[in-house]
Amino acid sequence: MQPIEEKVYKVSELTQLLKLTLEAQFAAVSVLGEASGVVLASSGHLYFTLKDAAGAMKVAMFRGALQRSTLKRLENGQQIVVRGMLSVYPLRGELQIIASDMRLQGIGDIFAALEKLKQAYLEKGYFDPQRKKPLPLLPGRIGVVTSPTGAAVRDIVRILRRRFPGIAVVIYPARVQGDGAAGEIAAGIDHFNGAPPGTGVDVLIVGRGGGSYEDLWAFNEAPVVEAIFRSRIPVISAVGHETDFTIADFVADLRAATPSAAAELVVGKKDEFLNRIDFLRHALMRLMERELHDRRSSLQPLRGESALADFPGRLQELAQRLDNGEFALLRLFQQSLKEKLGQWNRSAQRFAAFDLGGLVKNRGLQVQNLGVRIGARFNERMQQQRQRIGVLDSKLAGMNPENILAKGYSITTDREQRLVRDASALVADEEIRIRFARGSAAARVIKE
């Protein structure tokens, strides 16, 4: 059972209440302190911690205020007076000053010394970007120079194990703060540089976790700076937090904001490397496939519709043309032959129709006929004549004068063969001739 009057806040309600209260109560305060952890966000807002030996407070100066501020560029270690409103950052419930102005109050002791050192090394060329060694693409082994018990070594090992299982890490244990720390760190760096070939490391992480400027001081000391400068192995510095800077950070080949970041930098290279290899491998396969495909397709048209594939078809066309020629040849020639035969047949038939034998027979009959007629006519004529002669002959036979003698008459003729019809014409002794039916006799007239 809860008392009715007990007020229970939600966290946000309380932080909001606190914020309003503080802003009303401390609307304008001026605070003196040393700036540290200065971060200028990309938004243009400035964040830092204002501190002195015994206390610290977060400060946020928004972009508009910064532009109007007396001091516009702030560096760690600067002694400044910040003017502003006290407030609460509700999300974290953190006390902070929302600064409206700031001015320089004189440089702090630590930073003055540090700045001096930095200046000296800069002049010696220790920070020359030209001499910064590139990190190995992929370290085979990583050397770490740090405290074996600190947060740094834990963070580094954790991250490396997670991101690059089983990567070889060799830790050189060194004290990282207090007297002699710088020497141990330097010895670690030198140790790795002095390792025989094949047993060394490819990259060094040198650093420690966060702490005060005093805690980090070893990394500003000459032995460490010189050792880093000497190192043939690329060195990543990883000291404190992102806002902390040491000389080691400037001389190192690469500065990591934190030890974790250093581990990430190293491992990130592996990811990049693997990705690169995969990319290249895929590119290789893709390109090879493309090459094969291109070659294949360069052959493709030759399989399908090209003149090469059409060649057997051309043979068929020629065969057809040839067949056509042959058929035409046969047809035309046989037709011609048939025609010739027909012509021959017609002529031969007409010729055969001509009956020479008949003609000969006709002529024969004609001749025969004429011959018969000639014979008949001639016969007729002969018979006629014979008849006529016969008639005349028999008539003549009847008229023969000698027929009288047969009756007993006789015929007397004189010398001159004249018939004697008158006896007075006779003279005596005249010789006469007397003819009888049979024979004749000569006689002499005796008397008149």
Partner: protein
């Protein structure tokens, strides 16, 4: 009797004339004899001529038959 080579037709006419003369009873005997005689001669002559021709015809026919028997033309065969 002289052999006159009268042609058949002339001879025939002469004979006919002789016969005509002889048919006249007034023909003197003497002349009658002569005519008769002439007629007989003519007759004989003409008969001879006819017979001669007849003989020749027979020879011709014989020749023709002989020649024809081999190659005689027989119109019946054609019919």
């Amino acid at each position: 009797m002289k052999k006159e080579t009268l042609d058949f037709e002339t001879a025939l006419k002469k004979l006919e004339a002789i016969v005509a003369k002889l048919e006249n009873p007034d023909v003197p005997l003497q002349e009658g004899f002569a005519l008769y005689e002439e007629g007989m001669t003519l007759t004989a002559q003409m008969k001879k001529e006819l017979n001669d021709i007849e003989k020749k015809v027979k020879i011709l026919q014989k020749d023709a038959k002989g020649g024809l028997q081999e190659t005689d033309f027989e119109p019946e065969e054609n019919g």
